[in-house]
């Protein structure tokens, strides 16, 4: 069992959270419960996929970032961003104007992370050839790696032991600057992340000890800052900063961006709910003999990243169009000073299984708890309304056996107990307020949510 509480990047602003069931229902790992009127995230279960952030009607979820003031600590300030950052801008902004604008925010160097991409292609190809456990699963999306770790522990050995593109970009940047005689301690590496999962992966890397990235920037905020200055930024030649960039790198984070490189059988799945279905089947041996499996938490891969502002399909279109102007990656691409050294650094250790869904470490107690869950489920109405503060009746039953909830949290059963005069009205009201907070049921014409805003 995991004893150290895991880091997760998504936080709840309890002043903004009004207490509703959207996030709790959307969470693919049942990590959210509502208590005292606000959402609480179970750090052990959260994989930082960001679905809660997407569905929140009051924008109560946020991700922490480092402030740009930190830039002053370093002589050389490098901003790394994934290629999808370019894709979200309207086409009227050329890539050089975007580079100019980013540089004008106070960076000395700007690099897209997916370069030199042939190193990643080579590592994956080598590992696929040597694989004992097939299919090999891409380690690209940290939300998926965490999902497998906690929910599908039997598949952890299938995950490719390779770090992420932001590590590649960071090592490449350090390598390029070292060629100019600049030492590591003078360089600050800042990474603009397209999602909460990648932010968490930098803060608490999986399979590597300390991340090479020094600071994290929320891409949503960066986009707004760039849009503000983009027209005013003075012209600077940034072509040299893109000389390691290749067509394959630009589309790497899009669906089939990795899978298209393998001659054997491969498959690409995007959207965490789709991924869950495939992993379930994989555990049941119901997936054909694949060599490589690319799994991404967001629909349309990183183009649908939760910290992106544009429409994901437009982003994909722009990136695909842009990529055609670039050369195809070759193993002879040699822009780095010491490519073999970078490649070596990109290999990571094995991923440890998490087992966070076990009811108890003691088998006998776990079995007793399971039987208790079954008995409780007979009592619950099976409406899965979420009014108890848990995402469904089963989750409430599991919370109850873990001592985290009680049967009167179910509003329907509580109503029955009231009718049967087993509890009094004052207690029932207190129970409701424990879940939803005081004054939650007062009339409020300005209340957000509950208005079919999705249509």
């Amino acid at each position: 069992m995991q004893t150290v509480e895991k880091y997760h990047a998504i936080k709840v602003d309890i002043d903004k959270c009004m207490g509703c069931t959207h996030c709790m229902k959307a969470c693919p790992t049942e990590a959210i419960r509502v208590a005292r009127g606000v959402a609480n995230i179970n750090a052990n279960r959260c994989v930082d996929c960001g679905n809660c952030l997407r569905v929140c009607p009051v924008d109560a979820f946020y991700v922490e970032e480092d402030s740009l003031e930190q830039l002053s600590k370093y002589k050389y300030k490098v901003l790394l961003f994934p290629a999808v950052f370019i894709g979200q801008f309207p086409e009227s902004y050329s890539e050089s104007s975007i580079y100019e604008a980013v540089l004008s925010l106070g960076f000395t160097h700007v690099l897209e992370v997916e370069q030199p991409i042939h190193l990643l292609i080579e590592i994956i190809k080598e590992q696929v050839l040597q694989a004992k456990n097939k299919p090999l699963i891409s380690s690209f999306c940290p939300a998926i790696v965490r999902l497998i770790q906690s929910k599908y522990p039997s598949l952890v050995d299938n995950i490719i032991r390779m770090k992420a593109p932001h590590d590649l970009g960071a090592y490449y940047a350090i390598d390029l600057l070292s060629k100019e005689g600049i030492g590591r301690e003078e360089i600050g590496i800042f990474y603009a992340s397209p999602c909460s999962a990648k932010m968490a992966a930098v803060e608490r890397p999986l399979g590597e000890e300390v991340s090479v990235v020094d600071g994290l920037i929320n891409m949503y905020e960066l986009y707004n800052k760039v849009r503000k200055v983009i027209k005013k930024a003075k012209k600077r030649d940034s072509v040299a900063l893109r000389k390691g960039l290749r067509r394959d790198g630009i589309v790497w984070s899009l669906p089939r961006g990795e899978a298209c490189h393998f001659k054997g059988r491969s498959m690409a799945v995007d959207g965490i709910h789709n991924v869950v279905k495939i992993l379930e089947r994989m555990e049941n041996n119901e997936v054909p003999e694949l060599d490589f499996l690319e799994l991404r938490s967001c629909d349309q891969g990183c183009a649908g990243g939760i910290l992106l502002t544009g429409n994901r399909f437009l982003t994909v279109e722009r990136l695909q169009k842009r990529s055609k102007r670039y050369l195809i990656a070759e193993s002879s691409d040699d822009h780095c000073f010491n490519c073999p050294a970078i490649k070596e650094k990109l290999k990571s250790g094995p991923i440890q299984p998490g087992y966070v869904y076990a009811l108890d470490t003691n088998r006998k107690l776990a079995l007793e708890k399971l039987q208790k869950v079954d008995r409780i489920l007979c009592q619950l109405p099976g409406i899965d309304c979420g009014a108890c503060g848990a995402p469904n009746c089963h989750a409430l039953a599991e919370d109850m056996v873990q001592g985290k909830a009680k049967i009167t949290d179910c509003v329907f059963l509580q109503n029955r107990y009231l009718n049967e005069e087993k509890i009094d009205l004052a207690k029932a009201t207190r129970n409701l307020e424990n879940t939803w907070g005081t004054n939650r049921f007062d009339a409020d014409c300005n209340r957000k949510g509950g208005r079919n805003e999705g249509f």
Binding site: S154, N284, N285, E286, A358, L359, K364, L367
Partner: protein
């Protein structure tokens, strides 16, 4: 802990319900992932057998602190030669079933391979009862 699943004849899309349900429980009991995999494969094969060959049946899993016992009872037509049915590659599956990607003659051998104990009782015309157990 007892889990009961009804298995309908000919419903291939539903095969996998019992194995998924049992898998979820075993994960909550912190059973070793490799053992879970063996159990899931055996249960899935048994489910497919009932769907493909029988008129329908029931799968019951009994889970104790150190063992899972699965009883698969169907209501016919029964297996006339169990020894032959246990052979790798032997199958009585119809062409239709084979075209769906099942019926390779691996079902019972696969169950045997993944379980600690397996017994099969069958009465032609009446039904088959498969009992297997795996220590957990």
């Amino acid at each position: 802990m007892k889990l009961v699943f009804e298995i309908a004849r000919g419903d291939f899309t539903a095969a996998g319900k019992a194995s998924s349900g049992i898998k979820k429980v075993l994960k909550q009991l912190l059973v070793d992932p490799k053992t879970i995999k063996r159990i899931v494969v055996a249960v899935y094969e048994a489910e497919v057998n009932v769907v493909a060959h029988s008129v329908g049946g029931t799968l019951t899993a009994n889970i104790s602190g150190n063992e899972i016992t699965v009883v698969v009872q169907d209501y016919g037509p029964g297996i006339s030669d169990i020894e032959q049915a246990m052979k790798v590659g032997f199958s009585t599956a119809s062409r239709k079933v084979r075209e769906m990607g099942f019926g390779a003659g691996m079902g019972l051998p696969n169950i045997k391979k993944n379980t600690d104990e397996l017994t099969i009782q069958s009465q032609p015309g009446k039904g088959t009862m498969l009992v297997f157990s795996i220590s957990i």
